[in-house]
């Protein structure tokens, strides 16, 4: 497996986990405005262990690859 594969997979997992939480969990205000979010990745592939952080999200926003630990 190439290193690039690992990086891409870790990014997929992080973004999916993040979106799952922000869009589907947390306090629900009944009757709140529903917002559809375009371009959501639905890929489950992974390395064995990876931790997310604010830095990870900053990298995601800027489109850079990220490293797992």
């Amino acid at each position: 497996m190439r290193d690039d594969d690992v990086f891409d997979r870790s990014r997929d997992i992080t973004i999916l986990e993040l979106l799952d939480r922000v869009l589907n969990k947390g306090v629900i205000l009944t009757g709140d405005v529903v917002i559809s979010v375009a371009d959501v990745d639905l890929v489950y592939l992974g390395i064995n262990l990876m931790l997310s952080s604010v830095e990870t999200m900053e990298q995601l926003k800027s489109g850079k690859t990220i490293t797992g630990t």
Binding site: E17, L18, V22, G26, L29, V40, Y44, N48
Partner: protein, 254 residues
């Protein structure tokens, strides 16, 4: 409209909270502020049009605000897209739901959430269970030779094997969950399990542990990986306690 990011207690560290909010920006660069009543507050920012925040970069900005605040304060994340018309409406919401909010904040205080996904090689596992199903299924033999080998009998046999295979899969997944529970029993952890998200993602777990138990949790998951070499354990986090919000806020107007 006013977008709400999180609910949190505001009795302590008010200055630190104000400082933190002044250093952050909400979606579209809007200033963050707190609407509070009875020692409970909501972190909010104005939004010109709700349609303007419906893309993924806005979700990431929203999540980043919550995560940065969660590093310093105990809070309840609010689901993305929760907006109200006025600060008065938010105040009413906080008053009506004060007890539930306070109770839930108490449950997650000083704790962080992790996600644990367990993956398998779906084809390999399916093949193993198929073999086991074939061995274990006890379809009674019917005497009389080839005449009794009807399509109906073959159909029933296949159905029985599929059913048996499904039972074995559930039993197998339950046994992995038991291993996770045993492994986490040393913590005062709360866990939520979801089985069979996809064919290969057999378990999805949300784990809430004390902040200081983070390193030990990582070691426990690495040990689980060693115990179960045929599976892949993926740990993500720490997250704000998204999965451990246990109530729905009720309000009349938005």
């Amino acid at each position: 409209m006013i977008l709400i990011y999180a609910l949190l207690p505001v009795n302590n560290d008010q200055d630190a909270l104000n400082l933190q909010l002044s250093e952050l920006k909400g979606i579209s660069g809007e200033n963050l502020y707190i609407v509070s009543v009875n020692e409970i507050g909501a972190v909010a920012s104005d939004v010109k049009a709700i349609e303007a925040i419906s893309d993924r970069s806005c979700v990431l900005e929203y999540a980043e605000v919550i995560e940065r605040l969660a590093r310093q304060f105990t809070l309840l994340p609010v689901r993305f897209g929760s907006a109200m018309k006025s600060t008065d409406a938010i105040v009413q919401l906080l008053i009506r739901n004060r007890d539930e909010i306070t109770d839930n904040i108490g449950k997650v205080s000083g704790k962080i959430e992790f996600g644990l996904k367990v993956f398998c090689d779906a084809d390999k596992l399916s093949e193993e269970l198929k073999e086991q199903s074939g061995r274990d299924s006890n379809v009674p033999a019917i005497s009389g030779g080839e005449n009794h080998r009807s399509v109906y009998r073959e159909y029933i046999t296949r159905k029985l094997q599929v059913h048996r295979q499904e039972e074995l899969l559930v039993t197998y997944v339950d046994s992995v969950i038991d291993k996770i529970k045993v492994s986490l029993s040393v913590f005062d952890a709360s866990c939520k399990f979801k089985k069979m998200t996809t064919a290969s993602n057999i378990i999805n777990t949300a784990i809430l542990v004390k902040k200081e138990e983070k390193d030990e949790l990582v070691i426990k998951i690495e040990n689980l990986q060693t115990i179960c070499p045929g599976l892949s354990f993926v740990l993500t986090g720490p997250w704000p306690p998204y999965s451990f919000v246990d109530f729905t806020v009720k309000h009349d107007t938005i």
